[in-house]
């Protein structure tokens, strides 16, 4: 099969069911990445420096952009040929796995159906460090070595788009996206008309809590500001998440917020700070499991995985003020060597059967709602979960993040919310 070079082989050689049951809650994808991100920050930093030094030293990888037609236009796409190879960069633990972590059935079926071999590389640990790694290469006009990368909507994806470092997609070549993608995933604010990206998985940032500790149902963002929970409130150290929650608490839609709104939200969050236990990275889920934190900002998939790995009492709630919806997106970086193969995979992935296989393992929100009936039959626990297939009421409360206009805009946000986290 497409051999998962690199990190794929590092996965422990234990039964995947055991792996999923025992370790997933503790080391979900985002946590693994932060363990390597927040934990081994030094590594990503040195990687960054190495990448800086290495930029421009690999000429000859010019890629496929030498055609006369504009890159990404219909004529350009018409000229692209299948090559039989696909270099797919993704985050750790973010696809279906069998055979002791060595094989990914969905990729295997893809190879069987199309003859395209996949080099599946779990090299993306963090949006910021991955961006730092590939941007000097892209700046130098070189191929990153990836045909597909997966990035969360946010500043770094916005940067890739505004630098024109992604190849525009021809959605006519991805009919399954048009047919099966859920409404939440079409025409997102951060990438209008899905010009450059289509969703891989997504999730909600809402509130996670331990009902035994809080002693009551949590329904509102206001509960995160309740002095009763002083010293046991968890907030996220990701300033986009923190700021967005501050805005929601004031009834402001983050997507269309102004800098005045940001300042108001920051004031509110500053008042909350003495009650906050810690501004957490992914480790908030461990703190919630251990009982250090009673109520916290939380990612839907983490709570689902915790529920299935020994903490069934933990709850995730979509607060009445709204919930933030983030999306991890597939995109093709410029100078990719096998863009046609990448598009083949995108189309293949959006089949309900394949999307169901991946969702069954990953447990985040799949962009293909039609996967639900399949999972209801194959794995009802996942199929029934509103954290994998959100209810219409949840979807109605989903908010988009603010999309930064330029670097100054991004810095203004940073300087508004970072002083709260880094006091």
């Amino acid at each position: 099969m497409s051999d998962p070079t690199g990190l794929g082989d590092e996965q422990p050689t234990i039964d995947p069911a055991v792996l999923r049951g025992l370790t997933e809650g503790r080391y979900s994808r985002r946590q693994v990445l932060k363990a390597a991100g927040a934990g081994a920050l030094g590594i990503s930093f040195s990687g960054f420096l190495a990448a800086c030094g290495a930029a421009g030293t690999n000429p000859g990888n010019g890629g496929t952009t030498t055609g006369a037609a504009a890159v990404g236009s219909a004529q350009w796409w018409a000229k692209q040929k299948k090559t039989g190879t696909l270099d797919f960069g993704n985050w750790p633990y973010y696809i279906d796995v069998t055979n002791h972590g060595k094989s990914h059935p969905s990729l295997h079926q893809f190879t069987a159906a199309t003859g395209i071999k996949v080099n599946y590389l779990e090299n993306i640990q963090n949006n910021d460090s991955f961006y730092a790694k590939i941007s000097p290469t892209l700046q130098g006009g070189q191929s990153t070595g990836y045909d597909i990368i997966v990035m969360t909507n946010g500043w770094y994806l916005t940067e890739l788009i505004s630098h024109k470092w992604l190849i525009p997609l021809d959605l006519d070549l991805i009919p399954n996206f048009k047919k099966y993608a859920g409404p939440l995933f079409k025409d997102p604010a951060y990438d209008p008309h899905n010009t450059y990206t289509i969703a891989w998985q997504s999730g909600f940032t809402g509130i996670g809590y331990d009902p035994n500790k809080t002693g009551r149902e949590i329904t509102s963002v206001r509960d995160l500001f309740d002095p009763k929970f002083k010293g046991h409130i968890g907030m996220m150290s990701d300033n986009t998440e923190l700021g967005s929650l501050g805005l929601l608490s004031l009834g402001i839609d983050p997507k269309s917020s102004s800098r005045d709104d940001w300042n108001k939200a920051a004031d509110k969050l500053k008042q909350q700070r003495p009650m906050v236990r810690q501004y957490y990275d992914q480790s908030y889920i461990n703190a919630l499991e251990r009982g250090d934190v009673w109520i916290t900002q939380a990612w839907s998939g983490d709570i689902f995985q915790a529920n299935n790995s020994g903490y069934p009492h933990l709850k995730f709630v979509v607060p009445e003020e709204g919930v933030m919806h983030w999306t991890d997106n597939m995109a093709i970086p410029v100078h990719a060597k096998h863009p046609r193969d990448a598009v083949e995979w995108m189309n293949f992935y959006y089949q309900p059967k394949i999307a169901a296989e991946v969702a069954d393992w990953v447990n985040y929100i799949t962009p293909v709602p039609a996967a639900k009936p399949i999972l209801l039959k194959d794995d009802p626990a996942v199929g029934k979960s509103p954290l994998v297939f959100p209810t219409p009421e949840m979807t109605a409360k989903a908010h988009d993040y603010y999309t930064f206009k330029d670097y100054d805009d991004f810095q203004a946000w940073n300087s508004t919310f970072n002083p709260i986290i880094q006091s």
Partner: protein, 300 residues
């Protein structure tokens, strides 16, 4: 003829040989100097120069000799900078107090088990330092086996917690520094001639006086080496604050890391690095000035 030439020979040849001889150590040292230049001085100057640049990551940063970056960053982040030096100093001091008896005992009473004992000191290095720090999250959790038990006995109030406090960060820094303190102390103590200690006792020094007036001064080089290794690393550390800290424990390393990697604000990160470097150099100079450099040179 020959008599005439011979006296000339050494006169002409000797200075040549002498010049070569005088240059030899420098030539032999050349690879080391080149290494230091290419891999330390050049990157250091490059990073510090970034502090004086203005711009943004989209249009690129241009060197504009923007000196006010240095003053603006210090006015914004002096709290975290001072805090880093406090945490660094406290953790170094605790590490010294804890390590000294260990190193002393191994050096003086370790006997034939010395290498085994040193191996035990080094053993934790075989586990990643991030993992070891994370482990404290479990050991010290609010209802974990330490605090949970003590709370169960009623020794501690139910709301007591250690994690997310300055104490947790300092404890983490101290814990991770112990081997770096023990090893240089051991080397210094091991080199002390036991007869000197015995001589002091022969001259009616008590055990305590011999220790304070003979052993400690003779180990000053080891103390300085340990201080350098631990203080410098701990002041710039950001992992302990990130894993064990909470609101109000952010260290300068965390700010630099965020500025560099997340905000792509290279001038701020570089300016803060410059302040950190300056502060460390001052602290080391102060130490050397107070305790004297002679012994340190002896040790080196």
């Amino acid at each position: 003829m020959e008599q005439h030439v011979q006296p000339h020979h050494p006169v002409v040849a000797l200075p040549k040989l002498g010049l070569r001889r005088r240059l030899a150590p420098y030539l032999l040292g050349l690879p080391a100097w080149a290494y230091l230049g290419f891999f330390f001085v050049v990157p250091l100057v490059a990073v510090l120069a970034v502090a004086l640049e203005t711009g943004n990551p989209d249009q690129g940063y241009v060197l504009t000799w923007h000196w006010s970056e240095l003053t603006s960053t210090i006015s914004q982040y002096h709290v975290q900078l001072i805090r880093s030096f406090q945490y660094g100093a406290i953790s170094t001091l605790i590490a010294l107090v804890v390590s000294y008896p260990v190193a002393y005992w191994i050096a003086f009473y370790g006997g034939r088990h010395k290498s085994t004992l040193l191996f035990l000191v080094l053993l934790p290095f075989f586990v990643s330092f991030v993992i070891r720090t994370l482990a404290w999250n479990f050991i010290l959790s609010d209802s974990g086996f330490v605090l949970g038990t003590l709370k169960g006995w009623g020794v501690l109030p139910q709301t007591f917690h250690v994690l997310s406090t300055p104490s947790a960060v300092i404890a983490g820094l101290t814990y991770n520094a112990l081997p770096f303190m023990i090893l240089p102390l051991y080397v210094a103590l091991e080199q002390i001639d036991r007869r000197v200690v015995r001589a002091a006792q022969d001259l009616y020094a008590s055990h305590l006086v011999a220790f304070a007036r003979v052993v400690v001064p003779l180990s000053a080089g080891g103390i300085f080496a340990g201080f350098l290794l631990v203080f410098v690393t701990n002041v710039g550390d950001y992992v302990n604050a990130a894993i064990l800290g909470g609101p109000g424990t952010t260290m300068i390393g965390n700010i630099i890391q965020t500025s560099f990697l997340e905000n792509l604000d290279y001038p701020t990160a570089s300016a803060l690095s410059a302040w950190l470097l300056l502060g460390l150099l001052l602290a080391i100079a102060l130490y050397a000035w107070i305790f004297g450099t002679r012994r340190i040179q002896e040790y080196a």
